[in-house]
């Protein structure tokens, strides 16, 4: 199958500018400079490129939200705060193909008429931040960034900004606050970032993979990109498969690939010849699936129809013999740890979810605890500034709805039937 991003990722030198150019790198930027910004945006719309960070919003439509008047400078911010458990694809792009990202940034900023871009990279990715910084230095030296890029008259400055350990900063308004030097508290919307974003300026925030797709779209045309996927889901996706599979890793596949095929064909099936017990299909926040539900197209609409999400493309595979209460407990610890504390339903709710799921797993669950969890979920979902509360609720509800008997058994027997172990 045609690949958009990963064709040369096996080549260690592809991260260097000379090798990247040998494979046609920065030719798309030259082509873009011969187009008008509107023509580029039109191709991105035709490409059916959906945001790869998790929400899946159409990128071209998002770009269209910028105000029409150019009186205030606008900026692009790249979300490289890859933190959704199960997701590890942007790290691959930054370490193997940083110039794909930079070329995508240059084209996108030209299309958006933005002259400044910050790449917000999660703090733990120190190595990747270093690689991107080296690539930025190469691009400046070669005239692909900076003043008057390729004699086009277009100026662009790109800067890496490192986060410091906060899952919430993957939420775009939290990320903007963090970029501005504040605590990563999400902002109330409106105003939306497209009108008032980073430093008070009109701002577009896009995921690394979304922007890295842009050079290919400009080179081959939006319709060609759309044709690589399925209806409303253009192109390929980088899908990360982790957990109990024989070949974990990132796979670049059509946006309409079948989920069962991802697990059994591409990732080599379940480890140690075990049976499958459950799949968290799109990062830890997405509702869990039972084995009989995974014969489904991985596109955003098909996943939505079965009550879950393709999210950020992180498929977590849970094998038979795994305690689902313990698994949920791990996730609830995570969300309680990462709640920013701004909204009461989330700050208190994630703490209670952690506590109650934890006591069920520890053999101290009380009759009515499961109902209590579901009631808490009802009081969290959709009642906060950002979706972190929802992100905790979705696994909590779905684990209970689909594996209720395990929760009841823990409470009934007052112990973990799996011996409190993974």
């Amino acid at each position: 199958m045609e690949k958009v991003l990963t064709t040369h990722f096996a080549n260690e030198r592809y991260r260097r500018l000379d090798t990247y150019r040998r494979y046609g790198g920065y030719e798309a930027l030259k082509k873009a400079f011969a187009m008008t910004p509107e023509e580029i945006i039109d191709e991105v719309k035709k490409a059916n490129l959906r945001g790869r960070g998790g929400a899946g919003f159409p990128a071209g439509v998002k770009w269209g939200f910028l105000p029409k008047d150019l009186s205030r400078p606008r900026v692009l911010v790249i979300n490289a705060d890859e933190g959704e458990p199960g997701t590890f694809k942007d790290r691959l792009i930054m370490s193997r193909g940083p110039h794909l990202l930079l070329e995508g940034i240059a084209i996108s900023c030209f299309a958006l008429r933005a002259h400044a871009c910050w790449i917000y990279i999660r703090g733990e990715f120190a190595r990747e931040a270093g690689i991107v910084d080296e690539a930025i230095a190469e691009a400046y030296a070669a005239g692909f960034l900076g003043k008057n890029i390729l004699e086009s008259g277009f100026d662009l400055d790109v800067t890496v900004h490192r986060g410091a350990g906060a899952y919430i900063c993957g939420e775009e308004t939290s990320l903007i606050n963090s970029l501005e030097g504040k605590r990563g508290w999400p902002r109330l919307k409106p105003p939306f970032p497209a009108s008032v974003g980073a430093f008070g300026l009109p701002t577009i925030v896009n995921n690394v993979e979304t922007i890295a797709d842009i050079p290919w779209i400009v080179t081959h045309g939006g319709e060609t990109f759309a044709g690589l996927g399925v209806e409303k889901n253009g192109g390929t996706r980088l899908i990360g498969v982790s957990g109990a599979v024989n070949r974990p890793g990132v796979y670049e596949l059509s946006a309409g690939v079948n989920l069962k095929e991802i697990i059994y064909h591409h990732a080599g099936g379940i480890r140690d010849g075990k049976a499958l017990k459950a799949v968290i299909p799109g990062g830890s926040s997405t509702p869990v699936l039972r084995p009989d539900e995974i014969d489904v197209s991985y596109d955003i609409e098909s996943m939505g129809k079965i009550g879950t999400m393709a999210g950020s493309g992180g498929v977590i595979v849970i094998p038979e013999g795994t305690c689902m209460v313990r698994s949920l407990s791990v996730l609830m610890n995570f969300y309680a740890h990462e709640s920013c504390g701004q909204c009461t339903p989330c700050r208190e709710g994630t703490g209670w979810l952690k506590k109650i799921v934890g006591r069920i797993e520890a053999g101290k669950g009380r009759q009515g605890d499961v109902e209590l969890i579901l009631d808490l979920c009802d009081n969290m979902m959709g009642r906060t500034i950002c979706p972190l509360a929802d992100a905790a609720v979705m696994p909590a509800q779905s684990f209970i709805w689909k594996f209720r008997e395990e929760f009841d058994r823990h409470i009934g027997e007052q112990k973990c039937p799996y011996g409190n172990r993974f």
Binding site: E82, G83, E84, P85, G86, T87, F88, R91, A116, R122, G123, E124, F125, A126, R127, D157, T159, H161, R162, G163, A164, G165, A166, Y167, S178, L179, E180, G181, K182, R183, G184, F199, G240, V241, S242, G243, A244, P248, G249, V250, I280, S284, G314, I316, V317, I318, P319, T322, S327, V330, L331, N333, F334, H337, E338, C340, R421, F422
Partner: protein
């Protein structure tokens, strides 16, 4: 203990100021820089950065304590951070945490008496395809086993 950036650190701070339209945007990078230069973000470092940025120490402290990577207390020479999230747990992270805890004689959150190792458990490091994963200072170590952890930690000077 006074906290003042080295000459190189000061130059880096001045370079950072040129990359943003607002002075306060350098707070996160300046805190990283402080941690690199001083080993942790001390009270003195907070006051120092507040002076450089032109804001209150309270604002800097509010930021520093929001993010997990800024150590407000000294940590060991090697900060061993083992992921405990779902993909790593499915492949044995709990067992590895117990192993390192026994090996170093400290619980998560503690530092060995000689100041060499601090053990922490952390949330998802974004490397789930090569789980289990740990970070020692800035460096990732992936596809861990008990044996490979020993091979990584034992030779550290």
């Amino acid at each position: 203990m006074s906290a003042v950036f080295s000459e190189a650190g000061r130059a880096e701070f001045e370079r950072l100021l040129t990359r943003y339209p607002d002075r306060k945007a350098v707070i996160l990078p300046a805190l990283h820089l402080a941690q690199k230069e001083f080993g942790y973000v001390s009270d003195e470092a907070i006051v120092y950065i507040a002076g450089l940025v032109g804001t209150s120490p309270a604002e800097i402290e509010g930021v520093a304590t929001f993010y997990t990577m800024y150590n407000r207390k000294p940590v060991g020479k090697y900060h061993v951070q083992i992921c405990r999230n779902i993909s790593c747990s499915l492949l044995g992270a709990e067992h590895l945490i117990e192993h390192v805890s026994e090996k170093l004689g400290v619980r998560p959150g503690e530092t060995t008496p000689d100041g060499k190792f601090t053990l922490s458990t952390v949330e998802c490091l974004g490397s789930c395809g090569t789980a289990p994963v740990m970070q020692v200072n800035d460096e990732y170590h992936e596809n861990l086993t008990v044996e490979s952890i020993d091979r990584i930690l034992d030779p550290l000077p």
